[in-house]
Amino acid sequence: MLAFTYYDLLAQNLPHNADRVAVVDGDRQSTYGELAAAVDRLAASLHERGVGRGDRVGIHLYKSLEEVVAMFAVARLGAVMVNVNYQWTVAQLDYVVRDCEVKALVVDERRAAELAKSDFAEVGNSIVDRAIVDRGIIVKGKNPQHPLMTAWDDLPASGPLPKVAGIDADLAAILYTSGSTGLPKGVMLSNHNLLAGARSVARYLGINSADRLMSLLPLSFDYGLNQLNTTCLVGGTLVMQSVTMPSSIVGTLVRHNVTGFAAVPPTWIQVVRYLEQVATELPALRYITNSGGKIPPDTLDAMPGVFPGVEIFLMYGLTEAFRSTFLDPAKFASKRGSMGQAIPDVETYVIDHGRGVCGPGEQGELVHRGSLISLGYWGKPDATAEKIRVCPELAPLIGDEKVVYSGDIVRVDDDGDYWFVGRADRMIKCSGFRISPNEVEDIVYQSRLAADVVAFGIDDDMLGQVVHIAVAPIDAAQYDEAVLAKYCRQAMPHYMVPRAIHQWAGAMPRTGSGKLDGPKVIAAITNNEIVFNTHPEIPKA
């Protein structure tokens, strides 16, 4: 059968592949047939609760077989999966629930207990009592006995299911991601986007039914989601890896004969160091891929040595366009660090605004064209119109067709390969996560300890960038940096927590129009013009 919808990616395996192993999760495994049966069971319960086509269903689970079941169960109903990163706080989950009006949730017992308890001081926890989540909450594990919650294990074994509905243009998934401004935005991906992304990547990685891909990255992240999608597209096997320690990762690569492994730079740094100390043969491993940032040069240099005979793909993508470029592994030795060129069925251009399309030796903003372009941001037509728009410089080539503006500045070399130069805006990227400085600043303001705050990124060997903040206290005499640091640790996901808080004496400088002069503040700090107060509880390496 030809796949049109996300659910078809699973269903197309049933006629001929039902007995093949689809997912391995620790000591458990599930064939395509078993996976489809589990999907039907959960889908019937969601259907009974009133979840139908177009409804958003939040999935907030620690990486597991159940996360995959939940995703396809939602897709089975023509509903929209909203995978929320497990590292996110209750307050962030609450934000997502309100932002795209999540009708039902699938969570694990730890998060369910947090939701059921009402001692979260800030905005959180009204979430389960709200009218929004009116179709119920399914809990993997122990049910905290909340009236809206039902334990997954207590769901009936079967129930009536509607006919599989939907077309490829339907909204299939919303992935939340940060930009340079404001709160996280929900990127809307259609069935077509997801399938086109899987086909493109499966083609250039040469993925087939014999492949066993490791799923280490969150399924709430486009790059991580695509490991599941490509696996199902070709009838291969996905090996779930929830623990991020290098010893555990390498153990899984060996034990499960993993053939393809995708990760982000901090993981490569640790895994390469581990393999340098503990030489390990990985005969099954065929290829590895990196995305989510640049790998430091010394790690890149060591990769061919610790992964002999393994193809190394350096990739680049942004959620709004799913996936964009990769470097041909044959060029790895001569061009390590390059982002390469457009993936199959995608075109990319580098634009010098107001001047035209860049050629060799020039640099400009990367724009992306093709069927992977998302439907935009949920409920934010203005932000969508800014990100996905007609490119005047490309009018002679593609007329009024819209492209995605990446915000990434790249340089084009003589072969047409791209090299990352920097961001066109203030966005911070830590360990593959996009962080908006505004979001950090908003949370710091909520502490009521800061009169002025500026958040910015500082380069970090391990994580790419880390967040620093400059703070002008409301009351300098009463100000206690440890209190602010603790507030941040509780209100932010771990990757967002500032690694340093720089106290600013007096009011911060402002521009002529009265806005905080962020660049001036950042320059003063990075040029060491003011005293550096490092975070008291995180010692400097």
């Binding site: 497990y86 991020t244 320690m245 901090p266 640790q270 503990v278 771990h494």
Partner: protein, 82 residues
């Protein structure tokens, strides 16, 4: 300087936003997703700083790091005179 159970439990409780008393000696830290990879790097830095030792990459395992008790046992073994 040496690393205490209280320091580790306080670190974890702060990261996760729970009371220190919720973190027992055998509470699983990484195998359940309580702490993530970014926190792991911070935890290793804390251990290296407080226990005055340098982690070998091969020692970054669940056996050595998955609970307060395991961390203290690892530090003790590393600091034992050989």
């Amino acid at each position: 300087m040496s690393l205490t159970a209280d320091q580790v439990a306080t670190f974890v409780a702060d990261k996760v936003g729970v009371a220190v008393s919720d973190i027992n000696g055998d509470t699983a830290l990484f195998s359940t997703g309580l702490l993530d990879s970014v926190s792991m790097i911070d935890l290793i830095m804390l251990i290296e700083h407080e226990a005055r030792l340098e982690f070998w990459e091969a020692d970054v395992t669940l056996d050595n790091l998955d609970s307060v008790d395991r961390i203290l046992a690892y530090v003790e073994a590393r600091n034992a005179p050989s």
